[in-house]
């Protein structure tokens, strides 16, 4: 319960609305009970006196009560559920803000699906249990059940006692079954998502399936999954059938003492017919709140688990923080030095970077090459201070750890390998790089520099064209070039390219590099690449192997000094020739 407390406190931020809503809950319950009592009295009056002239008074009273009940019921729902939605909104925002500021160690170790769950179903569990669950259902049960019992005890204590037992049997049934039902319904959903995955794979891989003639095997496997899904649904129906049957049983049993004990009292003339009516009606009215009470009790453990997970995310801190007294550089020149930098990914056996030292002067281009997994991307991540390793990296002589985030992020612009873009307008994607909104002219210039003018002009909506899921689909090369334009929009002192041209053909690449060199005049450029052609013109190239620097030099020097470089260069230039020859035809 203690874990739920900090979240319960968040509800108190909306004190005024909540206090009105919560006050409406008992008032509604009281009105509900009064309606039954009013009708019960009317029945007795009719049967005993045989007069009907009190009926207009009765009708007015009933109408007033009905309107009051409706009003209170409206207020409780509107305010309590409304506040719970606000709670959801604020908590989600806070979690998101925390999430995007966490370091990469966190993102590496947590699966994105798991994080999404915390922001979706975990928050929903908390909202449901703490909001409508406690404030509406539990609270109203706390009023209507004791209230009814009080009224009934005054009339016939023994009968009330007999009736209470099956009533609370329901609470325990629900508490017991709520968890089981939840588990089984999760199982139903999981089996259904298995089916979805299978279908996705089978339909997506249809060429391979047809090529190997294994459609029958796919069908068999799907049939098996379909059967499991059906079984899960049947299992769930067993538990829910049991719950419904037990609840129904308890409900009906509550009327057995009313019949027998109440009937005996009527024979003895100690109980009036109107009173019997009150028993029947109030038993009915107490029934649903009692069920809700049990249901909620069953959900609390789940909400507590959710609270733990959400709290853990709120408590998560980034080990890469801005220093307390950060150095801000008014003008960054772009001198980068790495001094004996080593880095190991959490849990990895070997070093991803091993004792790397290199200096890049302002305006210089550094090429970084080497086989897959040699540490090229890691080096770039360290320069962006996404991770912190051993050794020191300095920007204009100041260690990164002492720099303000604003200075570092303002100086760097990054072009990722995967050409990641948001499903947003083309303009919004380009502008992500810029710190202030850019004019159309400026944007078109960037588009031109990235060699994308023809494509963007062909978009039906031009710069406003949405891209991604709901818009146009860009090819890998177009995406990468857009990322370059986005980086240039930042007008960075240091441009970081992480194998950013891998999906662009060699000819376009050559043109792009020319553009970049012109645009990049005066900029420090770090460029990691698979294709050596990309870095050929660099002032300095390092060859990485297993996290260590194997060789340093210019293109010409490396052709002499590095075997790996020479071999790879020959191989790749031949491939490029073939591509070009074939493309020309």
């Amino acid at each position: 319960m203690k874990t739920l407390l900090p979240f319960a406190r968040r509800f108190l931020r909306h004190r005024l609305l909540l206090s009105i809503g919560v006050t409406a809950v008992p008032l509604m319950a009281v009105a509900d009970i009064q309606i039954t009592l009013l009708i019960g009295r009317a029945i007795d009056q009719l049967r005993l006196t045989g007069e009907t002239d009190f009926l207009p008074r009765f009708a007015t009273g009933l109408l007033v009560l009905a309107v009051a009940q409706g009003l209170f019921r409206f207020l409780q729902r509107w305010l309590i559920v409304g506040v719970s939605r606000r709670f959801e909104r604020d908590l989600k925002q806070e979690l998101f803000d925390r999430l995007v500021r966490l370091s990469f160690r966190f993102h590496d170790k947590s699966r994105s699906g798991d994080v999404v769950t915390r922001l979706t179903s975990d928050v929903e569990n908390l909202r449901m249990v703490l909001g409508p669950g406690t404030l509406m259902y539990v609270l109203s049960a706390m009023v209507i059940v004791p209230g009814s019992l009080y009224v009934l005890t005054k009339m016939a204590p023994l009968l009330t006692l007999c009736m209470v037992i099956p009533l609370f049997g329901v609470t325990f049934t629900m508490k017991y079954f709520a968890r089981r039902l939840h588990r089984l319904s999760t199982n139903v959903q999981e089996r259904q998502s298995d089916l979805g995955h299978r279908a996705q794979e089978s339909f997506g891989g249809v060429r391979v399936i047809k090529a190997y003639g294994i459609a029958d095997r796919e069908s068999e496997q799907f049939t098996e999954l379909s059967r499991r899904s059906a079984d899960a649904a049947v299992d769930y129906s067993k538990a829910s059938g049991m719950t419904q049957a037990l609840v129904g049983l308890a409900h009906n049993l509550a009327f057995l003492p009313i019949l027998f004990v109440g009937g005996a009292a009527m024979i003895d003339s100690t109980l009036a017919a109107g009173d019997l009516f009150k028993f029947v009606d109030l038993a009915n009215k107490s029934f649903w709140p009692v069920i809700a009470l049990g249901w909620m009790a069953g959900l609390v453990p789940r909400a507590m688990a959710s609270a733990d997970r959400v709290q853990a995310l709120l408590d998560e801190t980034s080990e890469i923080e801005e220093p307390t007294d950060p150095v801000s550089l008014p003008r960054v020149r772009g001198a980068l030095t790495l001094e004996r930098v080593s880095f190991r990914y959490p849990g990895a056996a070997r070093l991803a970077l091993d004792d790397v030292s290199i200096a890049v002067a302002p305006g210089e281009t550094l090429g970084i090459v080497g086989p897959t997994g040699s540490g090229k991307s890691t080096l770039l991540s360290l320069v962006g201070r996404l991770y912190e390793g051993e050794g020191t990296i300095r920007l204009d002589g100041v260690p990164l750890a002492e720099l303000s985030f604003a200075t570092l992020r303002g100086a760097l612009a990054f072009v990722p390998q995967d050409g990641f873009l948001f499903s947003d307008s083309y303009r919004a994607n380009l502008s992500l790089g810029a710190s202030a909104p850019l004019g159309d002219e400026h944007l078109w210039r960037l588009v031109k520099e990235a060699g994308l003018e023809r494509e963007v002009r062909s978009f039906p909506l031009g710069l406003e064209q949405p891209i991604g899921e709901r818009g146009v689909t860009l090819s890998g090369g177009q995406r990468q070039r857009t990322c370059i334009a986005r980086a240039l929009a930042a007008d960075p002192v240091i441009l970081v390219l992480d194998d950013a041209l891998s999906a662009v053909d060699t000819e376009t690449e050559a043109k792009l590099i020319g553009n970049l060199e012109r645009a990049g005049r005066g900029r420090t450029v770090l460029v990691a690449a698979h294709r050596l052609g990309t870095v050929k013109g660099a002032d300095k190239i390092i060859v990485l192997n297993d996290g260590r620097i194997d060789a340093v030099g210019t293109h010409a020097e490396l052709l002499e000094s590095s075997n790996w470089y020479r071999r790879t260069w020959k191989h790749q230039s031949m491939q490029a020739e073939l591509e070009k020859e074939l493309g020309r035809r």
């Binding site: 309606i35 009560l65 279908a199 060429r207 129906s237 419904q244």
Partner: protein, 589 residues
């Protein structure tokens, strides 16, 4: 209706479900009737006798026994009701799930049989929705929609009838007020459904954005754009929140309104029945019975709107599902498929083959031959028609003109599955399923044995990769499990092709660049894969081209150069230039 066709084999079960529902309904009706009979019977009789009898002369014992008897009857009905209710839900679900299972597997098998051209037109996501959400909607129909709706209607009319039986004037009042409740319920459910749809759309947009930011977190961090994504998230969150408030308001209005109408019905009953109740024409027992049955009437009416929704969305789903089931595959097996002559030699001939995607001509008049055991390499720029040629050989499409023969038999006359089993196929961006590596390699083919798999792994050198994995062949290939590099995937795809001991290889080489060590390994594996087998290769690697027996150079759907290595070299065309280039550099690895 066609859905009925799927339900028909299970009609006994549906009848059973209906019988159980009817049984439950009878029990529910019987309970208040027992109460009434006990009250109007022994209780009233006792009260009358006590009033008439002298002080102290009244003996309550016989009446108490009668009351006890009725209590036992009540208990019995309660127990029966519980058992019936439990079995009913189980039974209905089981029946519905059987129908759904049949429909779902039939749909899946049907989709699998459709030709590739059809897949080109239908996005995968939509197809997945057909076999998942649409089928789920239909299952709602069978489990809670169809039977329950029919039964709710029965309930409403039966209870109304019974109300008239108890008291005509009271029942008339109820009948007059019922439409009000029905209209409220249907109006509300319609509004609620629309509002919910908006909420769901906003929520999925919100969660989509969250997912996107998580996958692009590196970019966000590198540019220091946390503020900006946060404020965008806030926008999405706000619009989701506002949509939510609308549904909250709708529900906050609906429940009080229904509550108010219920009190209105109750008040009217008492008002109308007051006279009869006071002069004794309406007994208290009858009044209580009437009251109880009115309660039973209101439940199904409240649900009416909901049931209507379920029906509507289920019918929409059914329409989409049947549309798929009604589509016939275009690439079909000949009525009397010809079997390939034994033994299979792997002699392929393309005779004046042309093909177009819609109006877009991709192949024109292509003729060539793959002699048994020989390798034919296709070279040409992207979009020159190489991949299409391969897909025609796999019979993913049928040629528009011309024909393809295999060992002298027209490909169109062969049974596609049987034909493809002779092939070893390595496609570009070859698909690996999220199963164990072993399952991915064998793919349940009967012709793959432990020996042939071991041999294939050995020949393709993929065995060495597996040796490095801690779980070996048992390693799960999952979305987020082992990530295999492009080069590794290609090696595994070759091993997969080899495991079936094929006589004919169809190979679309990957274009993505891989590191040199893997490249060398792939070249070696390719050489071993092709030697001694008939092969059609879309070649991107120089080494593969050089080793081919025949090289076909494609350009915009035409065959522009063809011949052996020597012939092409002598002709001084494109291939000759490439060859020169290659040998001008004697340091080639």
């Amino acid at each position: 209706m066609r859905l009925a066709a799927f339900a028909r084999p299970h009609r006994a079960r549906f009848a059973g479900s209906f019988a159980l529902l009817a049984g439950l309904f009878l029990c529910e009706l019987a309970l208040p009737w027992v109460l009434r009979t006990a009250i109007d019977g022994p209780i009233v009789a006792a009260q009358t006798e006590r009033a008439a009898a002298a002080e102290g002369a009244f003996d309550a014992t016989p009446y108490m026994f009668q009351l006890g008897g009725w209590s036992l009857v009540y208990l019995l009905v309660v127990l029966i009701a519980a058992v019936v209710q439990y079995s009913q839900l189980r039974y209905v679900t089981r029946t519905g799930q059987r129908v759904i299972h049949d429909l779902r597997t039939q749909l899946f098998t049907h989709v699998q049989r459709m030709d590739i051209a059809w897949y080109d037109r239908n996005p995968i996501g939509a197809l997945v929705t057909r076999v998942t959400s649409d089928i789920e909607n239909l299952s709602e129909l069978f489990t809670s929609g169809f039977v329950a709706l029919a039964f709710d209607l029965v309930k409403i009319f039966v209870v109304l009838g019974l109300l008239y039986w108890v008291s005509v004037p009271l029942a008339t009042v109820v009948t007059a007020l019922v439409p009000l409740l029905v209209i409220t319920s249907i109006l509300f459910r319609g509004g609620a459904r629309r509002a919910h749809r908006v909420v769901r759309a906003k929520l999925s947009k919100l969660n989509g954005y969250l997912q996107e930011v998580l996958s692009g977190i590196r970019v966000v961090a590198m540019f220091g754009r946390q503020e900006r994504v946060s404020s965008r998230f806030r926008q999405e969150l706000d619009s989701y929140y506002r949509a939510n408030l609308k549904t909250v308001l709708l529900f906050a209005l609906f429940f009080p309104l229904i509550g108010f109408l219920t009190v209105l019905v109750e008040g009217s009953i008492l008002w109308t029945g007051a006279g009869a109740l006071s002069n004794g024409t309406l007994t208290f027992g009858d009044f209580l019975l009437f009251w109880w049955w009115v309660g039973m009437l209101l439940g199904p009416i409240r649900e009416l709107g909901e049931r209507y929704n379920v029906l509507q969305s289920a019918f929409a789903s059914a329409e989409r599902v049947f549309e798929v089931l009604d589509t016939k595959a275009k690439v079909v097996t000949a009525d009397a498929p010809t079997a390939l002559p034994e033994p299979f030699r792997g002699h392929v001939r393309f005779e004046n083959v042309s093909f177009a995607y819609g109006d877009d001509e991709v192949l024109r008049n292509i003729s060539f031959e793959i002699a048994p055991g020989k390798t034919v390499a296709l070279v040409g720029a992207t979009g020159s028609g190489k991949s299409t040629l391969v897909q025609l050989l796999l019979r993913f499409y049928d040629p528009l003109a011309g024909r393809i023969t295999i060992d002298g038999v027209d490909l169109a006359q062969l049974e596609p599955h049987a034909w493809r089993r002779h092939l070893g196929v390595v496609l570009q961006e070859d698909f690996l399923f999220s199963e164990s590596l072993e399952a991915n390699l064998t793919m349940g083919r009967s012709e793959v044995s432990a020996t042939s798999l071991a041999h294939a792994l050995d020949v393709s050198t993929a065995g060495e990769l597996i040796a490095r994995l801690p779980q070996g062949l048992e390693t799960q290939v999952a979305e987020r499990g082992v990530t295999l590099s492009t080069g590794e995937r290609e090696l595994f795809a070759m091993a997969r092709a080899l495991a079936g001991s094929p006589r004919l290889i169809v190979f679309d080489e990957a274009t993505a660049s891989v590191d040199s060590a893997t490249e060398a390994r792939i070249e070696e594996a390719t050489h071993r894969l092709l030697s001694g087998r008939s092969a059609l290769v879309v070649a991107h690697r120089l080494s593969t081209v050089r080793r081919a027996d025949t090289i076909l150079v494609m350009d915009r759907g035409r065959l522009v150069e063809s011949g052996t290595h020597d012939e092409l070299l002598a002709s001084g065309g494109l291939y000759a230039k490439l060859y020169e280039l290659q040998f001008s550099d004697d340091t080639l690895p």
